[in-house]
Structure formats: C-alpha cells, structure tokens
C-alpha cells in the first residue's frame, strides 16, 4: 500500500513537470500559474477517481486526456471573457481556435521541457528564487517540500515563487530556445542552476534524506535531458554530469556514519571531516562507472571548465586508498581550479591536498597566507593542521571556528573536534 502511494507520487511528480511545460508553451509562459492549476485539478480528479475505481491501464495517458480537456475548457472560458471584455483580442481568434492540437507526444514533452529549462534558467531571476522555481516547475516538488529543503516556511517560498514568476513576465521571457550564438552563454547559466540545484540537495540543511536525494536525482535528470540534444550535449554538460555522479555515488556513505556537517560547495568538510569516516562499501559503484563515462565524453574537445576540474577531483575521491599519486593529482587539479575560479573553498581544499602531499609544515605555511579571518572553515583547517603538533593552538583555532560558524550542525561538528582534543 505504501509502495503504491510512493509510485503514484513519482507519477505525479514526473507528469507535473511535463504537463506544466507543455501547457505553458501553448498558453504562453505568462500564464504559468494557470497551467499549474490545470495540472493540479487533473491530479485531484485522478486521486479521487483512481482511489475509488483503481488505477487505469495507462495512467499517464489518462492524465494527458483529462489535462487536455481541462486546458481547452479553461482556454475557451478565457477566450469568452476576452471576447466580451477585451474586444480587440478577437482578432486572435483564428489562431486561438486551434487548441485541439494540444498534444502530449513524447517529442512535444521533450521540447517543452527543454524550453522550460532555458526559460527558468534566465540570468534575470535571483538565484534563490530561481532555485525555488526550478524545484517547483522543473522538478515538480510541492511548496512544503521546497520550504523544507530551504528550512523555511510555505509563505516565504510562495512569495519567492510569485516574485520569480513576476520577473519572468516583466522580462517577457518566452519559451523559445535561444539562438545558436546565444546558446553557449545561456547554457552556462542552465548548467550553473542545475549545479546549484544539486548542491541544494547535497548540502541541504534539512534532515529529510529522501528529499535531499530526490533533489539531487532531479538535478541529474535535468543534466541528462541536456545530453539528449546535440546543441546542449557539450563537454561542459558532460563534465557537470560526471561531477554529480561522483558526488551522488557517496550519498549513502556520507550519511552512513557521522552526522551531516553542512559543508559548503566544494566539499572541504566533505573531504576533511566526513570523507575519512565514510564506509566505502556504501559507495554506489554504478554511479561511479557512469561518472567515468560522462567524464570520458567531457574530455572530447579542448574545453576545460571548472566542472571538468571538479569532476576529476571528485573522481579521485572515489578512490579510497591514500596514495601519493592520488593527492599529487588532486593538488595539481586544485592549482588549476584556482586559476579559473578563486573560491575560498577551493583554496582551503588545496591546502588540505598540500598537507597530504608535502606535510604539515608546508600546509601550515600556505594556510597562514590565506588569512580568511572570518571563515569558520579556515580555522577548522588550521585547527586540524595544528592538531598533531600543538594542542593548545589547535583548540584556539577550533574555538574561533566555533564562534564564526553560522549553523548548528557546523557548531556540532566543531565541538566534536574540540572534544577529541582532550
């Protein structure tokens, strides 16, 4: 019974994104809420009908038929209103009468979803709102689930989604693929949003692990969708997919032992604090293999993006044994990554790789040059480096890290380190 409910949930989640994309394309993106309502009503009727009469032979076909009827009905009502209230719109009638062509064919669904992906991943919406809207429209999560992933409430999420949709309307975003010369830069934004989505799942503060995992899987699904089209199946897309596969392969292991430690993107804590405690028996070998397939495809061409470098670093972390070769390679990759993108987490991770390759003294000297005096991860790293040689210094660093930490989980992780010193 629970299994049946779960598989029904999956059907609804998958079909939500498909139906909303197809109907929005037909109605126009400015009417995205109407599309959501039509799909919601369809699902409510499905829930009642299927609950009472049992599942139809082909549930998705059932949903497409009912959604189409509702879409046409809604459209006719609006047209009636428009014809009476706004006579100038009557001119559109000929075009509008062709509603019966609304189709949920495989091709329409695929095209609409890709167009929706590009529409939502416009550079014009703020990140947080964009991630929220992507979780809703591209991944099909409910408002409550999104609120849980962001550790906030329904109202906040609803406001964010509302503002994001307003911005889409104000900017006149339509569901068309960018032209070829725009596509490369627009694809960068799409990939960035997908990676943010993945991180939202991977590093989310929520304790709901199945939700975290679902968010990661949905982000990966969007990446896979991009590989279905020649124009978007770029080395960068494949590099990002490889990166997500390698990270996701450790999903179970990461939760197997120590409490989850709210690590920032880049995985400094993932490497330093949790990685060594992970049980590699829990690594998902199939995902690791898949990661290498994508990595191979990413290496075709001369493109070298941060995704390429991060994917290769992540691939080394899928090797459990600490060999000199491994850490030398990781150090080299972090050096390259810092040339492309000077992020604090990459700098900190580089110091840790240096520690593994050249020892504590060299790493300490490099760390001292970073001077990230307001970063709790910086002091956590310093504390780790002092741990073997100077317990008092290590404790002082961990205490500064504790004072700077912003979340409860971070403080817990640091407290654990302080306790271990004694």
């Amino acid at each position: 019974m629970e299994d049946a409910q779960e598989s029904l949930r999956q059907v609804f989640q998958q079909e939500f994104t498909r139906l909303v994309a197809v109907i929005s394309r037909r109605f126009g993106l400015q009417h995205i809420e109407l599309a959501e309502d039509i799909v919601g009503e369809t699902f409510l009727l499905a829930a009642e009908t299927w609950g009472v009469r049992g599942l139809p032979a082909n549930p998705t076909a059932w949903l497409y038929t009912v959604a189409k009827q509702k879409a046409i009905y809604q459209f006719r009502r609006r047209k009636l209103l428009n014809d009476k209230v706004i006579p100038e719109l009557v001119a559109q009638r000929t075009q509008d009468d062709e509603w019966d062509d609304l189709s949920f064919s495989t091709k329409t669904i695929r095209d609409s979803q890709l167009q929706m992906l590009f529409a939502i991943c416009t550079p014009l919406i703020a990140d947080e709102a964009q991630i929220g809207l992507a979780l809703r429209i591209l991944c099909g999560f409910g408002i409550d689930e999104i609120a849980e992933a962001f550790l906030t409430n329904r109202e906040t999420i609803n406001k964010r989604l509302f503002r994001a949709k307003e911005k889409l309307r104000a900017a006149g975003i339509t569901m068309n693929l960018p032209t070829d010369h725009e596509l490369v830069s627009r694809l960068d934004t799409v990939l960035r949003v997908i990676y943010l989505l993945f991180n939202e799942g991977y590093y989310s503060s929520t304790q709901n692990r199945s939700l975290q995992k679902d968010v990661c899987l949905e982000a990966m699904r969007l990446g896979v969708m991009l590989t279905d089209y020649e124009q978007t199946d770029s080395p960068k897309t494949n590099a990002l997919l490889a990166l997500m596969c390698f990270h996701a392969s450790r999903f179970e292991a990461r939760h197997g032992g120590a409490p989850h430690g709210g690590a920032p993107h880049g995985g400094f804590e993932g490497v330093l604090l949790l990685y060594e405690q992970q049980n590699d028996a829990l690594w998902d070998r199939a995902l690791i293999r898949q990661g290498f397939v994508y990595l191979e495809r990413a290496m075709q061409g001369n493109d070298l993006s941060t995704y390429h470098l991060e994917a290769r670093i992540a691939s080394w972390h899928c090797v459990k044994d600490d060999t000199p070769e491994k850490w030398t390679a990781i150090l080299d990759l972090y050096n390259q990554l810092l040339l492309l993108n000077k992020s604090p987490s990459a700098a900190l991770n580089r110091v840790y790789a240096l520690y593994k390759v050249a020892g504590q003294a060299a790493a300490l000297a490099a760390a001292k040059q970073l001077r990230m005096d307001s970063n709790h991860l910086y002091f956590t790293l310093l504390g780790e480096l002092y741990r073997e040689t100077d317990t008092a210094q290590a404790a002082a660093c961990f205490q500064r890290a504790y004072a700077l930490a912003k979340t409860q989980t971070d403080r817990q992780t640091i407290q654990q380190k302080l306790d271990e010193l004694r």
């Binding site: 409910q5 949930r9 699902f43 609950g51 009472v52």
Partner: protein, 112 residues
C-alpha cells in the same frame, strides 16, 4: 437491505500549490475508504466519474459554464452502497476524504 447513493461534494481549492505527495496521499485515502466499505460487503457500485466541467441550463434558457462558477462546493462523483437503514448508510460516509477536504457527503436512499 436497501441501496443508497453517497454523493461527494468538494470545494475547489488551490490545487496548483499542492505537492505530488499530497495527491498520492489523497488517492490512498479514497482507496482506503472505498476499500473499507467493500470489505464489509456493502459496496454496490463504484459509480461513474463526472468531469468537473460542464454546463448549467436555467429556466430562462440561460446556459452557463458550471457548476463551479456559482457554487462553492462542486458535485464530485458517487458510489452506491447497501445498508439496512439510512443511519447505517450514513455511518459509511464517515471517513470519506471529501469531508476531510472541507466538502460534504450527501446520503440518499434509492427508491425502487
């Protein structure tokens, strides 16, 4: 034993904001409710589904889209049950998910 029709009425609420999990839970509740009646051997028919859209014809010949334009609670569908009395049939209506959704169930004896 007589037969009774249980008609569900539900308000149209903001379905556009509900989650896949909620819809799946609603389906399960309907299934559990109808399954319970069936297990007691009291289910006669699972009814026929009504689409939510339609027309309303009035005395002056006015035809409107409906019925939800003017009525808060839209008529959903129905099931037929078998019971010894109206009270017994009414008892079966308890637990109908339409009630939990803020709607109602009308219990009407079928006349033979």
């Amino acid at each position: 034993m007589s037969e009774f029709m249980l008609l569900f009425r539900q308000p149209s609420f903001e379905t556009g904001q509900m989650s896949p999990a909620e819809f799946a839970a609603i389906a399960s509740r309907w299934q559990a409710w109808v399954g319970g009646i069936e297990a007691e051997g009291k289910l006669v028919s699972r009814g026929t589904r009504l689409a939510t859209e339609g027309k309303v014809v009035r005395a002056n010949g006015l035809i409107t889209d409906g019925p939800f334009v003017e009525i808060k609670e839209r008529l959903g569908s129905f099931v037929l049950v078998r019971a010894n009395s109206l009270d017994e049939a009414t008892a079966l209506a308890h637990g109908c998910p339409a009630i939990a959704a803020g709607g109602s169930v009308e219990v009407r004896p079928l006349l033979v």
